[in-house]
Assembly symmetry: C2
């Protein structure tokens, strides 16, 4: 991959899996659409099949495994709404053969993906697209073709419903099987297609296109073109050398998820007049606004600037802004792995980025969890517990999608992770309305879950949370995972605090909530007893937190032997069932905890944990590098921290996990942001005060980052010699290197020499 | 089921699965053959397909699951060597329709299975068979038909190779799939068939029959009858009312496993003269000899006598006497569940019966383990350990057949179970030849395994055996399972003791062994350190051994809620992954340990363990009742002990586990014997001395049992009032109710009033 400040681009015309992998990198989106960087004109290969996903649009799947409530949902490749047929002198171009001057580029400022090449030394082709950030139901497509000889050109701009899922989720050496076809039926209209995709909800997808084609600036009417699968326009053109053909197309998509008037909206769209330039400009403006609140400028002789921007760009592409009925899956809308399901990735890794740069988006995604509260209550009951048991792997309907036997029963830290994100959002926004309408109820029901899940042991006098799987997924289950217990304790305490606050500040809402949930403060005595009494195995001598109560007794694993290559241990040297015998941590576990709750651990404990766990961590998950980079930066492991940062920032760009093909790693993107801002940038908030204590990597001369906190826009500029904080929109206590001040619109900037 | 003293019989003409289940109960065998009680004349139904298995004759299987050394072996239904066609006036009898006066009976004294009925009110049929206990390659079949009207009878006695596996292993509600056909090719001869069944070894099965048919005592020659699948004889007879047709048939079977001269042996058999009466008499004599050494006579108004005899009978039927290259599978040769594989069932549950009644058979089966030592060494290395790691689920080639991920890695108590059985055999026989030729090497290599598997923890100062699955298979893995640790310690100590003894008593063999294995006594320091230092979680206050180091911290499980019916918990109320969260013991675990090593635990500890674990035990395995009965009997839980004994003794007869259909539960048979002899009968041996301390159930007036110990035949007769011990063949110290004496051939009997 090559880099400019605001784009990544490739000059290599990749084929096969490598192309499919790059297609994931060139994904554009707007939170409604996720569109992989496939070739619109490639009707020949599997890769040309496309890869367009809609947030929350999923279908029943035939995948195996017995499930809670028995239904598995699959992200589906809806239609190839950007299909082009380009036929030169009777020969159809597939975007692959007879190509020179190939280049594809992702412009992250304008959020446009462009691909250009010269075909057969006679036709220069430029194809671009973006997912409209203003009207998220729209996708814009442009094509420019310049003839370099006289030719007959047949050109078709279509919506193509002959697609199936890409199914790029198998790991080598497993063969990749053809993906499922989720389209149950289709109705082909003029310039439009309606498909039915979901046997559970009868969800219809309505897609329609408006197209304008000009030759040398003069519009040419196309004829209607349809067959059993496609609908669109066709032009048959006789071109002379130098002729320039330009296509502009807008596709609008609605589904039954969007309301009952989707058909009507499509009709309106088809008869509406398109102001092409305005759409373009509005989209660019919206992106500029987003970047203004979140961009990180890096002064460095590396590509880190661009890598970092790529990560933030994709996070913004996948973030739903149109509804609070969806959230972000582990691979977002950039691939099908994990069937679009939402894990703790979102609350712990991704949400902080939004909470501190676009809090409304965090609010929407936390509201989605609130809407899933009844499912979580049912799931708790199903598992013989109380309160709300949020599922480890949630489909868009918030149901557990981990197959029974897959460890969903054990992976309960997700529950306190949601509580953590609610707490973090509230601390960063003071959004009492959200808290008292939604957050408090979630906190209460998750606290009730923990109260029913923890056990007091007469045997040792502690409370225990047994038989859990912590962040380290190489354990099937352990007892008293430090991460789980600490986060559960926070969940219990936060619930008590918020409910106490709510009783005072919103007594009517509180009374209503109590009636609805049959809550009384008597319950909270047990909550606090558990929070205070949970066992955490700790080596006083070494100041070392044990990942779980038996970790210290396990056998040391020589990581050189276990992981000689980038392949995951379980894909190369060891059987999964061996792993719980060893001190092996699949992904950062205690280190993650220390990043999330740094105030709970001393510097000595952090160093001890880093030194002990780092050599025992396999990093066989994309959720591992960021916490080590972040923690490392905070405790003076400068070189390692920067190395880990590189692993985060370039994880997908360099395909470090060998599985970018199946979707981007959004948790890692969020983690990268946290490393930059909290780790290197040194921002932290305590009781409403911003502290900046930067730890710049030596490879960086400086960085500038932007935050939003309690309504105040913050810019922090760090150089090798000083730190400048500037605020806008309110007042904010700030502390830099011991210098306390309160910034406000009147006194908006402070610079401190370091 | 109905009972006489020496037989079980059924007058119910069962159909469907019930018939298939009863077919398992009517299994006869001789350690070479296992022959289910199928209907020879039923060519119509799946059940008539047969079910004849040969010890050690297995085939590559298509069953799934990645395996150590990648090959799965399947027990195979070889051929229906007893196939009959009975055609009355053109209509073929299937043994099912038009039947009256039905009765089938298993005579356990003569070891003959007989089925008789009247067909269509015109033909009385009696069919019987036995597996010859003298020449184990032979099966005898008899048929008597008495006409009650004039009729045309076509009668065929065949060997039928058109069979496939029964595949009765699925649990409800899973549908039963047709079984695999393991026959790769077949060659049909006159009165013989040779099949090829094994793609790994090219194993041929040679079967041939000799047949004599008489009508009213006059021999009638049959014509040769063959087709693509069968070979045998046909008779076309015109019978008059009262005519009696009698068939006698001997089938001989050899395989390539038996040597390279199987074809020749078949030829010899086909030309040999059969002395029918002699065969019959020799078979009966051999059985009488066996019964003399092991029978348990029960004086009681119950059916316990017969149930107990059934259990011992089937143990003898499955015991290989012809080779030391096979052992006994969990379901023996009575069904296909577990594909004929050998588990700890054999060493811990079955072998004691043989060790104390037929030690040569124990020796052979322990030798089979010795022959598997190299595989066990490879398996240890494969798993990154040293020494010999015997597989949890061993095919006839001693390879691990537990699929990877199925817990074979954790289920390592099998290794010390083998060492325990070797030690027990040696204590009971003083067979130094076996010990120094084979046993010592196994003990050494298994000790080495434990030395490489145990970890010393600086953290708590103990040795640990982590990440194991103990007898309680509802745990995926635990740490420091008390059973595993105690048995491993014994293994380590026994190895040291035996090697020390060997150095003195067989210095040349010892030197050879040291060279072969690179052994020196320096290794044993670590062995003893581990044996002394292994952690066992123990509640001093309650005198309670913890099943594992976390059992006390788990949540109590209400067994009424978890197991409302006889169905296994995991088949009814709970998902398997929930179980490690609860104090739930699938099958006796600590109780089993206390039975095996009673001297290591105080009476108080045994009572504490019984009272604590008994309500926590689901008995979701057939290996659970016997230890509770045995331990219960020893500690005064008389009524419960007897209840548990009934569960053992009648487990298959009453189909208590709902899965007798897929084979008999041989471990339970062995367990039942131990309950009777060690539990109720109160026999125990310490340093060569027999102690008898009976605990008769109140339902029994008395019992007599027989043992062989260090070459001495022992009879113990217990009544409500006194105990009589008689010996034959040597001298034996005996202690009854504190009365010590030495019995010998001169002074062979003692009676003590209790």
């Amino acid at each position: 991959m090559e880099y400019t400040n605001w784009s990544i681009y490739s000059l290599n015309h990749e084929t096969g899996k490598k192309r499919q992998s790059q297609n994931a990198l060139f994904t554009v989106g707007n939170g409604y659409f996720g569109i992989r960087g496939f070739y619109e004109e490639d009707t020949a290969s599997e890769a040309g099949n496309g890869g367009i996903y809609l947030a929350g649009v999923r279908s029943n799947s035939e995948l195996g495994g017995r499930l809670f409530e028995d239904k598995r949902r699959d992200l589906c490749n809806i239609m190839n709404i950007l299909r082009l047929h380009i036929i030169v002198d009777g020969k159809q171009i597939n975007g692959v053969d007879n190509i020179t001057n190939y280049r594809r580029e992702l412009d992250m400022q304008g959020a446009v993906y462009t691909r250009c090449y010269r075909y057969d030394d006679c036709l220069d082709i430029t194809l671009s697209r973006f997912a409209d950030m203003v009207d998220v139901h729209r996708v814009r497509q442009d094509a420019t073709l310049v003839a370099d000889k006289d030719m007959e050109l047949t050109f078709r701009a279509l919506i193509d419903s002959d697609v199936h899922n890409l199914n790029l989720i198998s790991r080598e050496p497993d063969p990749v099987q053809p993906g499922l076809n989720h389209i149950l039926s289709r109705e082909i209209g003029t310039d439009s297609i309606v498909t039915l995709i979901d046997s559970e909800d009868d969800n219809h997808i309505f897609a329609a296109g408006q197209t304008v084609l000009t030759v040398n600036g003069v519009a040419v009417d196309g004829s209607v073109y349809t067959n059993d699968f496609v609908s669109g326009r066709e032009w048959n053109l006789k071109l002379k050398t130098g002729d320039k053909v330009e296509l502009r197309k807008i596709v609008a998509v609605y589904t039954d998820n969007d309301g009952t008037d989707s058909a009507q909206k499509i009709d309106e769209f088809l008869t509406s007049e398109i102001n092409w330039d305005e759409i373009d400009a509005a989209h660019k403006n919206r992106w500029a606004e987003r970047w203004a609140n979140c961009d990180i400028e890096v002064d460095s002789n590396t590509d880190d600037q661009t890598a970092l921007r790529f990560d933030l760009f994709e996070l913004m592409c996948v973030c739903p802004t149109h509804t609070d009925r969806v959230s972000i899956g582990a691979r977002g809308l950039a691939g099908e792995q994990y069937e679009g399901c939402v894990f703790w990735d979102n609350e712990i890794f991704q949400l902080p980025f939004f909470t501190f740069t676009d809090p409304e988006s965090s609010r929407r995604m936390l509201a989605w969890r609130y809407h899933g509260l009844d499912v979580a209550r049912r799931y708790a009951k199903y598992n013989w517990f109380e309160g709300a048991m949020y599922p480890w792997q949630a489909c868009e309907k918030c149901r557990e999608q981990t197959p029974i036997g897959g460890g969903g029963y054990y992976s309960i830290h997700i529950i306190s992770d949601i509580a953590y994100a609610i707490r973090q959002y509230f601390l960063a926004t003071q959004d009492s309305e959200f808290m008292f309408e939604m957050g408090a109820e979630v906190l209460m029901e998750t606290a009730r879950f923990w109260a029913s899940r923890a056990d007091y042991s007469e045997w040792d006098g502690y409370w225990h949370i047994n038989t859990v799987r912590g962040p380290n997924e190489y354990d099937f289950y352990v007892n008293d995972n430090a991460y789980t217990n600490t986060m559960a304790a926070l969940n219990l305490r936060t619930a008590k605090e918020i409910l106490t606050k709510m009783e005072t500040e919103a007594p009517e809402k509180f009374a209503k909530l109590c009636t609805k949930t049959n809550f009384s403060f008597a319950e909270t005595e047990k909550w606090l007893a558990i929070a205070d009494g949970l066992y955490i195995c700790y080596d006083e001598k070494r100041k070392l937190i044990a990942e779980d109560s038996n970790y210290f007794n396990r056998r040391f694993l020589d990581m050189k032997k276990a992981k000689p290559t980038a392949k995951r241990i379980v894909d190369s040297t060891m059987n999964h069932e061996w792993l719980p015998f060893y001190q092996v941590t699949k992904q950062s576990d205690v280190a993650t905890l220390m990043c999330l709750l740094p105030e709970k651990f001393s510097e000595a404990e952090k160093i001890a944990a880093y030194d002990f766990y780092e050599p025992r961590t396999a990093h066989d998950s994309s959720l591992s590098y960021a916490p080590y980079a972040w923690l490392g930066a905070r405790i003076g492991k400068d070189e390692q921290a920067y190395e880990y940062f590189k692993n985060c920032a370039y994880l997908d760009i360099a395909d470090l996990k060998l599985n970018t093909i199946s979707g981007l790693h959004f948790a890692n993107f969020g983690g990268t942001w946290q490393v930059a801002v909290f780790g290197f940038g040194g921002a932290s908030f305590t009781d409403g005060k911003l502290t900046v204590d930067p730890k710049l990597p030596k490879e960086w001369n400086g960085m500038t980052y932007h935050l939003v906190y309690r309504g105040v826009n913050i810019e922090v500029k760090v150089t090798k010699t000083d730190v400048t904080v500037a605020v806008q929109g309110g007042s904010l206590p700030v502390c830099i290197a011991g210098n306390d001040t309160v910034l406000s619109d009147e006194n908006s900037t402070i610079t401190v020499k370091m």
